[in-house]
């Protein structure tokens, strides 16, 4: 995998970096918590894509298996955190009728 030359691995690694940027943008900008959870998942998959791309050793001999194993572990951990965040969000909506943390967006999420 040549560092500077434009080949698949570098392409995917840079895509991962831009995905992280997009995810960070979403995580900061949105007040609705479900969108922030979605942005969190985009950042996570961006980090993992970069991790795998940096471990890619040319066509034919595949990606370094250790990052692959760590990424599978990371995906399951990200799912667990997302599931808890979603459960907390639904409970917050049931208790206080809002889907945001008030400091950012005082308005209640009105019906769609």
């Amino acid at each position: 995998m040549s560092g500077a030359g434009l080949d698949s691995a570098t392409l995917f690694a840079l895509t991962g970096a831009i995905l992280i940027g997009i995810g960070v943008y979403g995580f900061i900008v949105h007040a609705h918590l479900l969108r922030r959870i979605l942005a969190f998942n985009v950042i996570g998959s961006g980090i993992f894509l970069m991790f795998g791309a940096l471990g890619f050793r040319g066509a034919g001999n595949g990606t370094d298996p250790v990052p692959q194993a760590l990424i599978i572990t990371g995906i399951v951990v990200a799912l667990s955190l997302t599931a808890l965040a979603v459960a907390l969000l639904v409970k917050l909506a049931e208790e206080e009728g809002g889907a945001t943390l008030p400091e950012e967006q005082p308005g209640r999420g009105e019906a769609e």
């Binding site: 560092g3 392409l11 900061i28 900008v29 959870i37 890619f56 459960a87």
Partner: protein, 312 residues
């Protein structure tokens, strides 16, 4: 080679467009629809990186279950009338966030490009010890032998996430049945779909676990497929979720991590914690994988179903 590079460039561009639409799109439901497509495209990217195990996990967990989780949450919020926000984010906030995220992306891209090439990572070390690990698939060898401790902690993370979701249950409904009371027309298309798919899903899941030792597959991917199929059966109104207080549900939840921890503890007794003896490594790893698949399937299904809502 240019065709492959062209395809990769096209795929990367599409991934970025879909990701941006998912994050910055107007409607929340549209964002979730884009996110599901995004998960599928990321799985294709992993195929291009020849990380088929990760592609499987991303397709099953990223596109499949996370999509169902978000749609379920959106549906619940819609019932409560909070599934959207009146105004979008203010312009100065957008500019600031754009600047910060641009900076982050640039810094990471620069660091990536500064990395020396010809890095081997740990693949030679894995290849060299693969023979003694008892399995042929290097990723499974890392997951269940070389770094088995990571996977043990991770299976506990999944289980504890479910307990954490259950800890949100109001006192009145404790021990009750998770999720809403699903109902569907008994001779309709949904219940037919709910009857036809599970056998196929079961075959695919068992195949994935069995193949996991020699080719891409394994407990997590298979467990996810089983969980998705069970959720369909419940949504089709054929069966209801088990109550949280049911005894054998708890046994199924604890089976996977329990077997894994038992193997680790036995190893510790012989002086090598989590040590899997070379002699019968393969049967031991396969038994751990099957136990893990059962627990992961049950845990994931209940995790997506949410906290108990109806009395048992």
């Amino acid at each position: 080679m240019t065709a492959a590079l062209l395809f990769d460039a096209g795929l990367c561009l599409l991934v970025l467009v879909v990701a941006f639409s998912a994050v910055a799109g107007r409607g929340l439901f549209g964002a979730i629809a884009f996110f599901i497509i995004y998960g599928m495209l990321i799985a294709l990217a992993w195929l291009r990186l020849e990380g088929v195990d990760v592609a499987l996990a991303e397709a099953a967990i990223g596109a499949g279950l996370t999509g169902m989780l978000l749609i379920g949450a959106w549906s619940m919020l819609k019932q409560l009338g909070v599934s959207g926000l009146p105004g979008g984010p203010s312009v100065p906030l957008r500019i600031a966030a754009g600047a910060v995220s641009g900076l982050v992306a640039l810094a990471l891209a620069a660091t990536v490009l500064a990395l020396p090439d010809g890095r081997e990572g740990l693949s030679p070390a894995v290849a060299e010890s693969l023979g003694r690990s008892g399995v042929d698939n290097p990723v499974t060898a890392v997951l269940l032998n070389f770094r088995a401790y990571d996977t043990l902690l991770e299976s506990v993370v999944l289980l504890i996430a479910l307990i954490a979701v259950w800890s949100l249950t109001p006192r009145a409904v404790w021990g009750g049945v998770p999720g809403l009371a699903q109902h569907a027309r008994s001779d309709g298309v949904l219940s037919m779909f709910g009857r036809l798919l599970p056998p196929l899903g079961l075959v695919v899941a068992i195949y994935l676990v069995w193949a996991g030792s020699s080719q891409p597959g394994g407990a997590f991917q298979a467990g996810t497929v089983l969980a998705a199929v069970w959720l369909l059966v419940v949504m089709a109104g054929l069966y209801d979720e088990p109550p949280a207080s049911s005894r054998n549900l708890r046994l199924a939840l604890v089976a996977g991590p329990g077997v894994f921890l038992a193997v680790g503890a036995v190893g510790a007794a012989f002086g090598v914690f989590m040590g899997i003896p070379e002699g019968f490594a393969k049967p031991l790893i396969l038994s751990i994988e099957f136990a893990l698949t059962v627990s992961i399937a049950v845990t994931l299904a209940l995790l997506v179903a949410g906290r108990p809502r109806r009395p048992a």
